[in-house]
């Protein structure tokens, strides 16, 4: 009997609100949460907007030591992790800790803390030889993002396999795919997984500026991210976290858990093409989709909704549109597609998990969140991108995809589980 990995708990920190409820309200209403950056003075930069989370660590229950120790991204993961744990109904302290794992996605780790400390240690870049006397006690934790997996593992009491998966902007999908593999192969019964990112600091903004990947629609930040629209001009950064409790199916059934859905198929591919560029044919993303569908024992025609990468760049829109057509054929034209980054921005290593959670909520509510800001469809993007307004539809199978720097292309198939009630 093969083991299956199902989702029984979710937790979210996102632009527009903390918690799963606020997140779903934003998505289902098709509102956007992108704005002019308030975390720091972004006026010197080309793109000055982001999807920022209004996150108060004190209000979210973090202790003074946690607040001092943890980078903002780790704080997100702990807060979203606690919501996911409570939502799952699992009494974590009753489980064998050795059978609990953690797999956390992040693309840029504790960048914000590192940049802050660099500015001090180097006195605003004056010295190459950074002054050791200004090193803060937790500097090494910021140095390697595995410290964030440690924090999440402590939160859930995991003593099984624990790791960060860092594959750029597909990290949030790949970490959950990795977690599902741990469950299916029998290395763990419960894996707390997902992604977290708090990349909003000058160095991250600038690195997208210099390659002109981000939008310059600074005079209209709430509508700046426009995937599949012919007026699109780039991505808008974001931040947030989604944490997911993934559980072996029989383990979940035995305790009568509510099951959001199953991670039924997952695949990642390298495109061997370019560190930041995408080939317009979308072959590798299509390969990943095909393998994920095959693993899920699903046909292309079973897919009821496609959660797109939808970053808001022209090359991405053409790339994934081609991939959907290549894999789903004529069915691609009949399948609603939408992109959440139009609403919450691109939170790099977290977004894949935020997209998974939004897709699961679409299962729950029989409602597909829209692509916001899509007023003038690009004629080269000729699928049904669910513009502006959410759509009622009962969906049993979702395809969600991601694409990232480094050439990573990932696809996951989520399926509703029979008799999963609530």
């Amino acid at each position: 009997m093969s083991r299956r990995a199902v989702i029984t708990g979710v937790g979210v920190v996102a632009p527009g609100g903390i918690g799963t409820k606020a997140y779903w309200k934003l998505l289902s209403e098709g509102r956007t949460a992108t704005r002019i950056i308030t975390h720091f003075d972004a006026s010197p930069y080309r793109s000055r907007m982001a999807g920022e989370a209004d996150f108060d660590p004190v209000r979210e229950g973090l202790t003074p030591q946690e607040i001092r120790r943890l980078d903002r991204a780790a704080q997100f993961a702990v807060v979203a992790g606690r919501e996911a744990m409570a939502d799952s109904g699992i009494e974590f302290d009753q489980l064998d800790p050795g059978r609990i794992g953690v797999s956390l996605g992040t693309a840029v780790g504790c960048t914000t803390s590192l940049e802050r400390e660099f500015i001090v240690g180097s006195d605003r870049g004056k010295y190459w030889e950074v002054d050791q006397s200004y090193a803060v006690p937790h500097l090494y934790d910021y140095f390697t993002p595995s410290s964030m997996a440690t924090e999440l593992a402590w939160t859930v009491g995991a003593e099984g396999p624990v790791s960060v998966v860092s594959t750029g902007c597909t990290s949030g999908l790949d970490s959950v795919g990795y977690a599902a593999e741990l469950i299916m192969e029998g290395s763990a019964d419960v894996v707390v997984t997902g992604g977290t990112e708090a990349p909003l600091s000058p160095i991250t903004v600038v690195c997208f500026d210099v390659i002109r990947a981000s939008s310059t629609r600074n005079d209209d930040p709430t509508t700046a991210c426009r995937p599949f629209d012919k007026t699109r001009d780039g991505l808008v950064l974001g931040e947030g976290s989604a944490i997911i409790v993934l559980e072996e199916l029989e383990h979940a059934r035995a305790r009568g858990a509510h099951i959001y859905g199953e991670v039924a198929g997952f695949a990642s591919r390298c495109n061997a093409y370019h560190m930041t560029g995408l080939h317009p044919e979308g072959i590798e993303m299509s390969d990943a989709i095909n393998i994920a569908l095959k693993q899920a024992r699903a046909d292309a025609t079973d897919v009821g909704y496609i959660n797109a990468h939808g970053s808001g760049t022209k090359q991405n829109d053409l790339h994934e549109t081609a991939a959907f057509k290549r894999s789903l054929g004529a069915h691609a034209y009949k399948t609603p597609v939408s992109g959440f980054k139009s609403m919450i921005g691109h939170s790099l290593g977290a977004i894949g998990s935020l997209e998974i959670v939004g897709s699961l909520l679409a299962f729950e509510e029989d409602l597909i969140p829209p692509t916001a800001n899509l007023h003038e469809p690009d004629p080269e993007c000729d699928l049904d991108y669910t513009p502006l307004v959410a759509r009622e539809k009962k969906v049993n199978t979702v395809l969600t995809v991601g694409s990232g720097f480094g050439g990573f292309q990932s696809a996951m198939v989520l399926k509703k589980v029979e008799g999963a009630g609530r």
Binding site: G168, E185, M275, G406
Partner: protein
């Protein structure tokens, strides 16, 4: 179950470039921990490291790659070239979608990142490199390997501090089981720049001694921390059927067991290293008595050394198995360290010899481990257990065996 054999090993180590030079130096106990040359260490209390000498990236890589790569990526790309050459893999031997790339990272391309941070804050945003968006990040080595060799199979990067080098190989084996033929896997790491050094010093794990012979002394009564180094190993791991497709391919050994665990922060709970080792042995279907050598994590920090000695003693009994730590010659290589230890274990099997642990003179008697000190031990090695730990609680174990 799909089997996983090692057919190519690319090594960049402070004591040798390439598996032949590395192995010769390692068997002879040639230590390479020295005063830092990569940057001026005058203003830092830690002044020694294991640097990879004689590595001229421009001799191996096209010029266009140099401005877009950190030192650790250059080591990785060259190491991968060597591993593929050793395995005799030519382009088109294997379908490009049947090759996975799985690497480990700890801190990314830190030196590259420091340079760009300095440009941003000292000169201005217009001076930041167009390559900053990817050259420093944790996923860069997998992406660059894939592009260089045209591999279009699965790609991943795992980060579990210094246990990651083992985890990456474990994940590569998982990919073979899911159907790919061959994986390029392991880790090469480097973070020898001032900004990284300040972080290393802040870890609380670096030795306070700057005497290269007395600084990193795992299991010794004078253990006082470790020395940081750079380098690691990238390996070609493939199915025996895939290797058989290239007649004459040398098979160094087989990866037969792997597991990872995590330490609770609650002092009442046992550390997870012994459990990882037991799970890896169970995964291999082997008994402890079949293991001929343990490549220890060898933290060099007294409480961690004690915990590891207890784990080894718990499984093998007092003085029950030879234990070695060739990393005493190189310092700890972070994401590269676990991979290099697996490579060393594989080379031990292939060459029938256990490399020594150097500089340790007074092992703590209560540890009751049979530490291979000063000189290599020659003789048949059929199977080895490799242990690795990462700061924060990560434990990984891998079992390798002669291929038969």
């Amino acid at each position: 179950m799909t089997r996983a054999v090692v057919t190519g090993i690319g090594i960049a180590s402070p004591n040798g470039l390439g598996p032949t030079a590395y192995w010769r130096a390692t068997l002879h106990g040639e230590a390479a921990i020295k005063p830092i040359t990569r940057f001026d260490s005058a203003n830092y209390w830690a002044k020694i490291a294991g640097e990879v000498p004689g590595f001229e990236a421009g001799r191996h890589l096209q010029g266009r790659l140099l401005p877009q790569t950190d030192h650790m990526t250059r080591l990785t790309l060259v190491g991968t070239d060597w591993a593929l050459r050793g395995a005799g893999v030519q382009p088109n031997d294997i379908p490009d979608t049947d090759i996975a790339v799985i690497t480990a990272a700890t801190a990314g391309g830190y030196e590259f990142g420091q340079r760009e941070l300095q440009k941003l804050w000292h000169q201005g945003p217009e001076y930041v490199s167009a390559y900053q968006s990817f050259a420093w990040f944790y996923a860069v080595n997998t992406g660059q390997i894939s592009i260089r060799h045209g591999t279009r199979g699965p790609g991943a990067v795992v980060v579990s501090e210094q246990a990651g080098g083992i985890d990456s190989i474990g994940h590569a084996r998982r990919q073979l089981r899911k159907g790919v033929q061959l994986a390029l896997t392991g880790g090469m790491d480097s973070s020898l720049c001032p900004w990284a050094w300040v972080a290393h010093q802040a870890s609380g794990c670096l030795s306070r001694s700057n005497n290269p012979k007395r600084a990193y002394l795992p299991f010794d009564r004078d253990a006082s921390g470790y020395v940081a180094g750079e380098g690691g190993a990238i390996m070609v791991v493939e199915t025996p059927e895939s290797a058989a497709g290239r007649p004459g391919t040398r098979i160094y050994g087989e990866i037969v067991g792997y597991a990872s665990t995590f330490d609770s922060r609650m002092p009442s709970r046992e550390p997870g290293l012994m459990r990882a080792a037991e799970l890896a042995l169970r995964d291999a279907g082997m008994d402890a008595s079949e293991i001929d050598v343990v490549f220890a994590d060898a933290a060099g920090i007294p409480e961690l050394d004690k915990a590891e000695a207890e784990a080894i003693k718990g499984i093998f009994g007092p003085f029950g198995v030879p234990v070695t730590a060739p990393k005493t010659m190189t310092g700890r290589l972070f994401a590269g360290g676990g991979s290099l230890d697996v490579a060393s274990a594989i080379l031990s099997i292939y060459w029938s010899a256990i490399p020594p642990t150097v500089n340790v003179e007074n092992p703590v008697p209560e540890y009751e481990i049979d530490l291979v000190m000063n000189e290599a031990r020659h003789g048949k090695v059929k199977a080895a257990l490799v242990l690795g730990r990462g700061k924060g609680g990560f434990n990984s174990a891998m079992v390798v065996r002669e291929y038969r």
